[in-house]
Structures are given as C-alpha cells and as structure tokens.
C-alpha cells in the first residue's frame, strides 16, 4: 500500500537529513528545541489580522533552510497533512467576516480574507519550524534534550524503543500487504473477512517479539536503567543562538517591521 512505502521512505529521508552536517546540525539539540518552540509560539500569537507583522517570520525558516542545506521541497510535501484541517477552518472566514479592511482600487479586502491567509501562513510557518528541528536533529539527541528538560525517563526510553521498532514493523506490514495484494488483485484494501486476522497475526508475533526483547534485556542485567552516549555540553555559540533568536522573535512580535519598512518607502 502506498501509504506504507511512503512512510518508510519519509522516515529514511528524515534520517538522512538529520545525518547531514551543517552549522545548524551542530547546534545543541536543547537549544534548537527551545528556539523552535519559541518560534511557533511567537508565530501563533500574532493577531488574526496582523498579516504584515507575521510575514517577517518567514525569515527564520528561510535562513535555516539555507544554512542547513535542506531542500524546501520535502517540507512542502508534508504540508498536505496539516493544511486540510487548517483550510477547512479558515476557508469559511471570508464568507463570515465581511468587514472591509482596505480598498485597493476596485478590490475590497475584508477581514475574513486577511484572517484566512494569516491562518494558513501560521500553519505553514509552524510546520516548517518543526520540520527544520527534526531534519537537523537526530532522534537520540532530541531525546537527550528531552531528558535534560526532565521529561520522564520512561517516556523518553519508550519513544526511542518505539522509534527503533517502527522500521521493523513497517517492513513486516509492507511485506504482508504485498503478499495479500498478490493473492487478491484488484482489491483496494483488506477485505472484511481478513480484518481481524491480518493485523491480529502480526500482533501475536509482535507480542512474541516483545518477550524476546525483554529476555534479551534481562540477560544483560536490566533493572530499569538505560545508558546513553554522552551529549556534548552547551557552548557559548549555542547560548548566543538562543538569545539572538529570542531577541529577534520578541522584536518581530513587538514591532511591525514590514509596516515600518513600508512606511519608509511610501512617505
């Protein structure tokens, strides 16, 4: 099934991106996480009519994409999942909010139109920021950052273990669906007669796998502790990056830079 191979290739792709090297990749994971969250909060906090104030936020992802050398194309592809709901919510705005804001020649721009565009921009920007975070940070260093933030050890370990086995499971499901399709040509999905057994079989085998896994842990003296490779400490550059970003976000949020720029030109 396409969704499956799609997921497999997306995982591989993100892994490959995170494995690259650039100044952004080398930043401390915790710093990147904080900046990303800060960016998204700033973006989302813009008022729904503040289109031009929001526009300046495009500079962060653009700069990061360029410095990290990550193709923007991959990110746009991911927008397909987020945008439908955002659009569904936003598309009604132009019809419901008809208060005119601005007249450009014969064209009247209403509040609804502005708020719709702003909403979609917010959707794109926040997605780009999360994408950039994971495209420049490997899952294990991100988890190290989470541990530093005192996220429960158990949850972080579960995240790593699950991530480790997602590849294995996707592979198995892909093989099974292929085997199913080969014997059931022309069927789009799993027929109702096999609804239970298809995943059920895999589930039973997975439970055996879990037991093997636990045995393997026990044999190595497992008593609830996991040990990870050390993560290098924060450098001055990392701290500088966080401070600079924070200052930039606050500045962008407090002062409508595009409007200022524009007023220089207009008057």
């Amino acid at each position: 099934m396409d969704q499956l191979s799609q997921a497999q290739s997306e995982l591989r792709e993100m892994d490959a991106l995170a494995g690259m090297d650039s100044p952004v990749h080398r930043l401390h994971p915790l710093c990147k996480l904080l900046v990303t969250v800060g960016y998204i909060v700033t973006v989302v906090s813009f008022s729904k009519y503040d289109f031009s104030g929001l526009v300046v936020m495009v500079l962060y992802p653009v700069l990061l994409f360029q410095t990290a050398g990550i193709p923007v194309r991959l990110c746009f592809y991911k927008l397909r999942i987020v945008l439908p709901l955002v659009c569904a919510v936003g598309l009604a705005n132009p019809f419901l909010d008809r208060i005119p804001l601005l007249r450009l020649g014969g064209l009247t721009i209403t509040g609804g139109m502005v708020s719709m565009v702003t909403l979609m921009l917010k959707g794109c920007f926040s997605l780009m920021a999360s994408f950039l975070l994971i495209a420049t940070t490997s899952i294990d260093s991100l988890c190290a950052a989470l541990r530093k933030l005192h996220v429960p050890e158990m949850l972080v370990t579960l995240l790593l273990l699950t991530y480790r086995y997602i590849g294995v499971m996707l592979e198995q499901v892909a093989v099974m669906t292929q085997a199913y399709k080969l014997r059931a040509p022309g069927q789009k999905g799993i027929h109702i007669s096999a609804w239970g057994s298809f995943l059920g079989q895999l589930l039973l085998r997975s439970m055996d796998r879990a037991e093997e896994l636990y045995n393997s842990m026990r044999l190595q003296g497992f008593r609830g502790d996991f040990f990870y490779a050390d993560v290098p400490a924060c450098t001055g550059a990392d701290v500088g990056y966080v401070l600079a970003c924070a200052a930039a976000f606050v500045c962008a949020r407090a002062v409508n830079l595009p409007a200022l720029l524009g007023s220089l030109v207009v008057r």
Partner: protein
Amino acid sequence: MMIEFEKVSFSYDGERPILDQVSFSIGKGESVGLIGANGAGKSTILKLLLGLLSGQGSITVAGRKMCRENLAEIRQKTGFVLQDSDNQMFMPTVYEDMIFGPRNYGLSKEETERRVDTVLARLGLTELKHRYNHKISGGEKRMAAIATILAMEPEIILMDEPSTALDPVNRRTVINTICALPQTKLIASHDLDMILDTCQRVILLSHGKIVADGDAQTILRDKALLEANRMELPFCLQGMARSR
C-alpha cells in the same frame, strides 16, 4: 565443567515433555553444536541455561548451580546471541547497545569504554560504533549483536541460529568470528555446514531426548542417523557421498 545438565526435564503443560531427562556436560573451551528438527528442544535448552525457563533436574553453569540467587552471576558470565538481531539491538546506536550490558552489571564508564573499543577493533567493526541500528545491514547487525555480547566478556557464549538470513560472505565472516572466539560455545542451528565448520562436538536432539552426542565429524557424516531425525547430510559432505 562449564555447563552441566543432569536429568533435566521440562514441560509447558505438565503433560507433554519438551525435554525428557536430558543429561550432558560441556567442558571449558569446548565448541558444541546443538542440532535437531524443529521442536526438538534446542531453544528450550538454551533458555533453561539462561534461567529464562525453569524445569526439573539440576543445571550448573560456570560452576554455579542454577537458582534464583545465582541468576545474575550466571547471566553475566553467559552471552546469548539471539536469532533475530533486531530483538537484541534495541538501543538507537550500536555503541549504546554495547554499553547496555556492562553498565547494567555495574562496570565503570572507563572500563566499559575500553571494552567497547577493544571488541570493535578485534572484530574490525570500529566503523560501526556510532551507527544507527535501524540503518545498518543485516550482516552488520549480526556482527554488532555478537559484539554486544563480547563486550560483557562472557565465559560461555550461546547462539541461536547465528548464520540465518545472511548472504554467503556475511555468513563466512560470522563463522570465522565464531571460530576465533576462545570461549566455551553452544550453538543451536539447522545449518549443519556451519556446525561442521565451527564445532568439534555435536549433540543431536529428537523429541526432547539426546539421540547422539559425540564427535562432529562422525555424527554429521552419519547419513542414516541424520535422516532418521529429520535432517540431511551437510551440503559439503553430500557431494562426497554421491561420488563414493
């Protein structure tokens, strides 16, 4: 004696025995192949040895009687290479998997580090150290799994089908690695060619009983015995048999 089984029996349901009064012993440095048809009881023996299952009879491993108190010590001295390396390599990177056992058994960070580097160098895997487990190939994964076991510096190594699902080159690498290991080894497998290459002694199981126990060359050449127990001659010996 490193491993001693004395009249060991095991059954899941209390009726149908999986192992029936099995006795054998393995000396220090011996390399023993455990063969038999599916369901003959090979994996059960390995699991009993590790204390993952408990049955009747007495088991001694590395001079310690199998019981709850000795379990940690026995497991520390025994390395088990699983059939599916994906189940053995559960941490994100090879390195983190290699430190898992030693650190859990209370070794210092420095000592662990030293062991990891020595083992990787010995197996020629230094390049794998910081690679991700989900991104290395099947052959590399099997070798890395052996490395995680060696990092615990065990006295006994147990292996369950170490050569399955490997291409010929990887299979040969694994066989050569096994041959070079000085530890006491017990290898359960259907790959009789591999057993012939790696073991001097073979224990043949059938329906929970030992049918034959002796020199690998003798047992693995005994066509009638093997076929009576749902196996056939190793491929490398089949040609000779035909030409004869």
